[in-house]
Homo-oligomer: 375 residues x 2
């Protein structure tokens, strides 16, 4: 380890847990897992590209701490984040004789965490769970808050459970092996945290710009820590997504529709979120919620990170139908998350047709769209 670690607490009463950030901390995983669980065995669930690089170190550390440790692989990619893979994990856990004294350790990005977390939530009615996120997106977003689950063919994350981890253990050094496109996509969630909650963070991101894509721990750790703290704060105030937590869905309503329409192929979650955020900010301006220029600032920052900001070209009726299976729908309305300005968000109940006004041929519907023309 060497360098000191930073720690953020997720305050959920008896289910509280720390997010620990550091550099080179993967080799200290075993002790940490032991300290935060009473586990005697560990099921490390990973995907091939991550497992190849880091599983051996994780297993070594767990074994050095006295745990029986096994490695399980699931295929990479959101397309196989499904019930079949969960069922395969159940079988593999049983084959290794894992019982309630085992902890499931997710080593990888959001997909590995969601899938392994759901298996942990449901195998033998729930095992202890530890997140070891190796992508920016997982570090600041998906590993925190206990949302686990899988996709159905009808839509994303339609099946799942709230199952809080006992520990989120972040080694930023693992980001070095992450393709820059993935790092950028994860930064979209950091940008989101600033946009909905913390104007100061947003300004800091604007100041850093492209440098956010380098893995420079001195630069990155404070930014990631702040994004983790925002997520932790929102989750602590609303664990089960009854209200406040919905703000974290900023940009996600359209993002889920885009992902579904593209069948989760050719676009990363963070990229879809980047597009969805710009769209949501534009809608916020059009609805008179936020001052002019808000969407432009957001779009400029995301573009500097190399992220897409324009929705792919599907017919409006395809978008409408994709929006209708969005699980945040409550009766006919979707709780659409809009901005009041940089650093402040709120939900507005809108129907899919209000989200996508009929006159626009595509989801894009800037306040100024009539002058800019349409694709």
């Amino acid at each position: 380890m060497g360098r000191r670690t930073r720690s953020v607490q997720v305050d959920l009463g008896e289910r509280s847990y720390p997010i620990v950030l550091g550099e080179g901390t993967l080799d200290a995983l075993g002790e940490a897992v032991l300290r935060h669980t009473k586990a005697s065995a560990a099921a490390v669930v990973t995907v091939p590209p991550v497992g190849r690089r880091y599983a051996a170190r994780a297993l070594r550390s767990l074994r050095a701490a006295g745990l029986r440790a096994h490695r399980f692989e699931v295929p990479d990619g959101d397309a196989t984040k499904n019930l079949r893979q969960v069922a395969r994990l159940y079988d593999a856990f049983l084959e290794k004789g894992l019982d309630r004294s085992a902890v499931v350790v997710a080593l990888g990005g959001g997909m590995a965490g969601d899938l392994a977390g759901f298996a942990a939530a449901t195998y033998l009615r729930g095992l202890a769970f530890v997140q070891v996120p190796t992508t920016v997106l997982a570090m600041v977003d998906s590993s925190i808050g206990g949302k686990t689950g899988v996709n159905l063919s009808q839509g994303k994350n339609l099946v799942g459970a709230f199952h809080q981890p006992r520990l989120v253990w972040i080694d930023v050094a693992t980001l070095r092996s992450l393709p820059v496109r993935q790092r950028a996509a994860g930064m979209a969630e950091v940008v989101k945290a600033g946009a909905i909650w913390d104007a100061a963070l947003f300004e800091r991101l604007e100041a850093l710009g492209e440098r956010l894509l380098e893995v420079e721990p001195e630069l990155l750790l404070p930014v990631l820590e702040r994004a983790c703290a925002i997520k932790a704060e929102v989750v602590a105030q609303d664990e089960r997504e009854a209200g406040l937590r919905m703000l974290l869905n900023f940009g996600h309503t359209l993002a889920h529709a885009i992902e579904a329409l593209k069948r989760y192929r050719g676009i990363l979650h963070g990229e879809a979120v980047a597009i969805g955020m710009v769209f949501a900010a534009e809608r916020s301006e059009a609805l008179g919620m936020s001052p002019a220029g808000t969407a432009g600032r957001l779009e400029a920052l995301l573009a500097r990170l190399g992220l897409p900001t324009q929705p792919p070209d599907f017919p409006r009726r395809a978008y409408l139908s994709a929006l209708r299976v969005d699980k945040k729908r409550r009766d006919a309305h979707i709780r659409f998350v809009g901005l009041r300005g940089i650093g402040r968000a709120e939900t507005v109940p809108l129907t899919p047709a209000e989200i996508l006004p009929p006159r626009s041929g595509r989801p894009r519907s800037r306040a100024t769209s009539t002058r800019k023309g349409r694709a």
Copy 2:
């Protein structure tokens, strides 16, 4: 309704809920569901024999209370309490457009409750859930405490979640259509409640004997209420089965092995539990935990209810191997539940081989078995 209802509270903080017992109360289900959930739609999940008799009344009552109500059927029997049926429910829920404002209502026995409850726990990361048990077993045992789940081919209830219902709504009149064999099997769990927790209840059961198999509300309601109260008390003290709640597994270690060996065919859960309880009581005597005669009293009462008390004839190694996948196993030991006498139970860590001593050719191994001979 007419007659007054009885109510037992399951005290779990913000997850507390009532168990309401009455006669003819099915027609008041809708109001009750509305009072205890904020649901605007209801998914009534049932099995064909129960649905045929009671679904129309349940749906009518729910609709009269203003809920959109849909009926979903799953095949009857423990053999199809599996992930495939859960996946079918997800698809059917999606097809009806059910969102987080819906409540899942399980109408049926333990199987329907476990399966529907697991779907409720995991669809959209959790919907409100109401139990309407129509078997004795479900009324006093499986509908209370939030255990939901399904079987894998490797064993029973290996996948699941703790998901407390908002309400358990019991209409004892539904027992009139239940075959007497099923009523008797359910009474095994009532006997269990007395055996592990309440000698006075046990004596009352001994006094009633065969009359417990008639559906005589004046007789039955107080007995069922007391059994529900015992379950509620144990669950309230230990929701996640960290300790005390394991006492409810009295008789279940062997019962699960028997069910697995018989592939869940030809034996009812309560019948397997009856056999398992007599076996566990005999082992308790043999281990010097309980006074001589305890197992005999238990066996006599169960026999009066027409329940089997002798284990089916499988080789010892088959039993051992079945015991090893029992999910209560913790490392090499199983937390075996023994009796200290009628009305008092405790767990003892035993290996499968200690539970089934090698000299007995079958699980039966009374303290006096050397003199009685073996099969």
